[in-house]
């Protein structure tokens, strides 16, 4: 997400982030932002910028300061017990098949 600054003259324009859904059933993806004095204008402007070619089936318009960015995910001790790459079964499988005579 961009910085809070950068509003228009007078500083009472709001930046609205726009998320668009290209086809029904797909995820809404961040498409960009528009600047508007209120939600009514933001609606009109987002439609124009992200929908005038029929390229979106739906939009979500959100004031920038309503968006909370989360970007730190500390993983200091390397946890793989809850991921697929934490499980290598090749060796044990080989041993088990040999014991059962099915190798």
């Amino acid at each position: 997400m961009g910085p809070e600054r950068g509003a228009g003259a007078g500083g009472v324009n709001t930046v609205y982030e726009v998320f668009r859904q290209e086809r029904k059933g797909q995820a809404f993806q961040h498409a960009g932002s528009v600047v508007a004095p209120d939600p009514a204008f933001a609606d009109v402007y987002a439609r124009e910028q992200y929908g005038r070619r029929g390229e979106s089936t739906a939009l979500w318009i959100v004031p920038r300061d309503a968006v909370v960015e989360v970007a730190d995910f500390p993983d200091e001790l390397g946890r793989n017990y809850h991921r697929v790459d934490g499980y290598s079964l090749k060796g044990k499988l080989k041993e088990a098949r040999e014991r059962a005579g099915t190798a």
Binding site: M1, G2, P3, R5, G6, A7, G8, A9, G10, V12, N13, T14, A31, G32, S33, V34, V35, P37, D38, F41, E48, Q49, R52, R53, E69, V70, A71, D72, P74
Partner: protein, 307 residues
């Protein structure tokens, strides 16, 4: 923004290395002052160009000789304004407000591309601009898809997608005229004769890659000369196959090296024009200045009681 473990290095040398290796930068990342300043200047010029590009074309909306052309031209010009909006938004998030950008544009402090300083004289110009000027622009824009600054690279995707119809529209206009009357064909050739010079200057004078800071910081990823060669490769055959003549007797492709030879473009003309002395520069900037002044009350009225 919350503090986080930075992928993006926080010193200039490592940052430079990071972007040169293909690293991407977001608006909220740390960046060297020089990188930020160059980005702003480069991207602002692009925004200015989209906006000024509207003025040569808009008068032809009224004069369009069919309803379909009227609609297509209105949509094309609308795209250009939309692109300006997207681009200035990116500049705003880098720290320069749109108002400041527009003020600098109008005062002549900042620049816009050469082609938008020239007059449009006939319907032939409309076709040539949409076909060839937009083609030259798209070559640069496609190269910018790899810009190290991610918000700009992302809007380039949308811009390229929207401009794809511009070139088709332009080519359709030209083809229809070339298949029409003798006068219509002459109109196209005459327009091409006038626009060829500015087109050859469009991608800028040759700069050695090591000496081009926009390449160093991976803002641009294509040297000027390469862009020009790409344009000639793509479009000279398209021009010639219609029976049109490119007004440069030196223009030929060296079959061995694959590179085009041509009369060296007039780099002085480019410099003069881009520093605000093109044939239409004053008039167009003046037009924008007046309309901006006359609509100042509207901006105040709208903002005055925003929530």
């Amino acid at each position: 923004m919350s503090a986080r473990e930075q992928e993006v290095p926080r010193n200039e040398q490592e940052f430079l290395h990071y972007v040169q290796e293909g690293g991407q930068v977001e608006a909220s990342d740390w960046m060297p002052d020089e990188y930020r300043a160059r980005l702003i200047k480069f991207i602002e010029m692009h925004g200015n160009s989209e906006l000024m590009g509207v003025l040569p074309e808009r008068e032809w909306i009224l004069r369009a000789p069919t309803l379909q052309r009227k609609l297509a031209l209105t949509a094309k010009v609308q795209d250009e304004v939309g692109h300006a909006q997207l681009i200035y938004r990116v500049v705003e998030d880098l720290g320069k407000s749109r108002d400041d950008c527009l003020a600098d544009l109008i005062s002549g402090k900042s620049k816009f591309h050469n082609v938008f300083h020239y007059p449009t004289k006939t319907w032939g110009d409309v076709g040539v601009i949409a076909w060839l000027v937009d083609a030259a622009a798209i070559i640069s824009q496609k190269a910018l898809l790899k810009c190290s600054y991610a918000p700009y690279a992302r809007i380039m995707k949308k811009i390229c997608w929207e401009e794809s119809f511009h070139i088709l529209h332009g080519r359709d206009v030209i083809l229809t005229m070339m298949n029409g009357t003798e006068e219509q064909r002459e109109l196209v050739q005459e327009a091409l004769d006038r626009w060829w010079g500015p087109l050859m200057q469009f991608h800028g004078n040759p700069i050695a890659p090591e000496q081009d800071p926009t390449l160093t910081w991976r803002i641009k990823s294509q040297p000027n000369d390469d862009a020009r060669q790409q344009f000639l490769d793509g479009y000279v055959p398209q021009i010639r196959e219609l029976g049109l003549t490119v007004p440069d007797p030196e223009l030929r492709k060296d079959e061995e090296t694959g590179r085009w030879h041509y009369t060296e473009p007039d780099w002085d003309e480019l410099k003069t024009v881009v520093t605000g002395h093109g044939p239409m520069t004053e008039e167009r900037l003046g037009f924008r200045r007046v309309s901006r002044e006359e609509t100042e009350w509207v901006r105040s009225a709208v903002l005055a009681q925003a929530a």
